[in-house]
Amino acid sequence: MEPLTVAFPKGRIAAPLARLFAQPPLEIAAFTGRGLVVDVPEKALRFLLLKDFDVPTYVRRGAAELGIVGSDVLTEKECDLPRPLEFPFGRCRFSLLAPSSSSAEGPFPRGRAVRVATKYVRLTRDYFDQKGMAADIVPLAGSVEIAPRMKLADLVADLVDTGETMRANGLAEVEKICDVSPHLVVSRAALARRRRDVFAFLEVLEGMLAS
């Protein structure tokens, strides 16, 4: 049987996912080495180890039948792929952060649009649109927490898990924008071509998550 291809994120949810996949009946050993394509022929599975933001592209364009990705990325990329499973780990929140030393008048500057550094341009823009506030979004690829200290931005919009990174960089949470959780997504083309294989795999995962 042709393997089912799963787009697997290398980011922060890789470790808890690896622990789940190591459980029976899958019993897939943690991915080691530098190879980015990992075949598990005895389970008829192939894993593509990808950057989180690339997972929807692989699945939407049919290079992978399934993928695992956070709701933050799905929303940011306007991805409407079916999402059969939500994982009970790796949950966090997408929040607006300000320097802990913000002035008493609050973190928003008077007389000009607030400058916000983020990896999530669409999510952040939508949030400020909904609030009816003007925002000047500063798109960054990472290490967004240092942007206020370097006067690149007033605020940061980013994921907060334990809050350790946020505090270590002198930031405090102003407001939660949305909750974030990892999902398993499936390509509609895979449902058309390999419906039985896809649902058989989903049933296995569903059982593992329920146990």
Binding site: K77, R83, P84, A189, L191, A192, R195
Partner: protein
């Protein structure tokens, strides 16, 4: 010195030499088949006034439009879809009575917003059958679509059949109204645990029905199709007829979302052997011609030549 750009803009493509020939040969084969089946060509403008289109588009479809202001101050949009353009330009030329009309079209459509490097420019060939509301017309269009794909060289077609509103109707009488729409949306997103919890709260029998609908692949004789009246008869009729075609795999999946927002009844999507997007699709849009002053039922299909010739999109 100005930088010379060797590549076309993201989402656009140029074809030369053998690739251009391959596409034209495929197109000629499709068009010859459509002409032979009694379809007449219609040519519509590649840019048109925006206003007549807006009420037929979802918010997402509207965002995909390339629009501009012409030198007279009118807002125009580049062609993003043939079906609405054809209804707008054909409706005033149709008589109120008469036998069904068969038309076909071909040309580029442009849809912006492909965030992941997908195409923004597509070459479509499609056909429409106007003035016939029967399931025979739905079957004729589905078969024309598959014949066109075969003429283009697509050897395998995975066909998903569905109908607008069928999923919500199949959830009745246990749930209805906004609750049915909410559950139907969760089923379309194939959310296993959310749908299982909602349905199990009603009854275990309902939970197993919801699971079957979520997994799709109803058979033509499936009793669930009997719950949706004429739409179920059409789905069974078309599925039964198409499943005998070589290289064609058919599934009735009422959780498949309608590809365009103007569909009103039966619709289908066709996937190739590779790629993530449908290579063709079609369906019934019985209220579109009424909006342009010439009410009549209509059903049609369109295929993207890129996907059809390459086996996947």
């Amino acid at each position: 010195m100005k930088r010379r750009r060797a590549s076309p803009p993201t989402g656009a493509a140029a074809y030369v030499f053998e690739e251009a020939t391959r596409r034209r040969v495929a197109e000629d084969r499709i068009v010859t088949g459509l002409r032979g089946a009694g379809y007449h060509e219609a040519i519509v403008p590649s840019a048109d006034y925006l206003a007549p289109y807006l009420s037929h588009l979802s918010a997402r479809e509207e965002r995909e439009l390339y629009r501009f202001v012409d030198r007279h101050g009118d807002t125009l949009a580049l062609r993003a879809d043939f079906t609405i353009a054809l209804a707008r330009h054909l409706a005033p030329r149709l008589t109120s009575e008469g036998s069904p009309t068969r038309v076909f079209y071909r040309g580029e459509v442009l849809r912006g917003g492909a965030g992941d490097g997908g195409n923004t420019e597509f070459y479509q060939v499609g056909a429409e059958l106007l003035g016939d509301s029967s399931s025979g017309a739905d079957l004729e269009i589905s078969e024309r679509c598959l014949a066109a794909l075969q003429a283009a060289g697509a050897e395998t077609a995975h066909v998903i059949l569905s109908a607008v509103g069928a999923l919500e109707e199949m959830l009745a009488p246990e749930v209805s109204g906004p609750r049915a729409r909410q559950l139907a949306d969760a089923i379309r997103e194939r959310r296993l645990s959310e749908t299982a919890h909602s349905a199990a709260a009603i009854s275990s029998g309902f939970a197993s029905r919801v699971r079957r609908l979520l997994e799709g692949d109803l058979q033509p004789a499936d009793p669930y199709l009997g719950r949706i009246g004429a739409a179920g008869v059409t789905l069974a009729h078309v599925a039964g007829a198409l499943s005998g075609r070589s290289g064609c795999r058919v599934a009735i999946d009422v959780a498949e979302p309608a590809p365009r927002s103007y569909y009103t009844g039966f619709f289908f999507s066709v996937y190739g052997e590779s790629g993530g997007e449908p290579i063709a699709g079609g369906g019934r849009y019985d209220s579109l011609y009424a909006a342009f002053g010439s009410p009549r039922p209509a059903v049609g299909f369109a295929l993207g030549l890129e996907g059809a010739v390459g086996g996947g999109a």
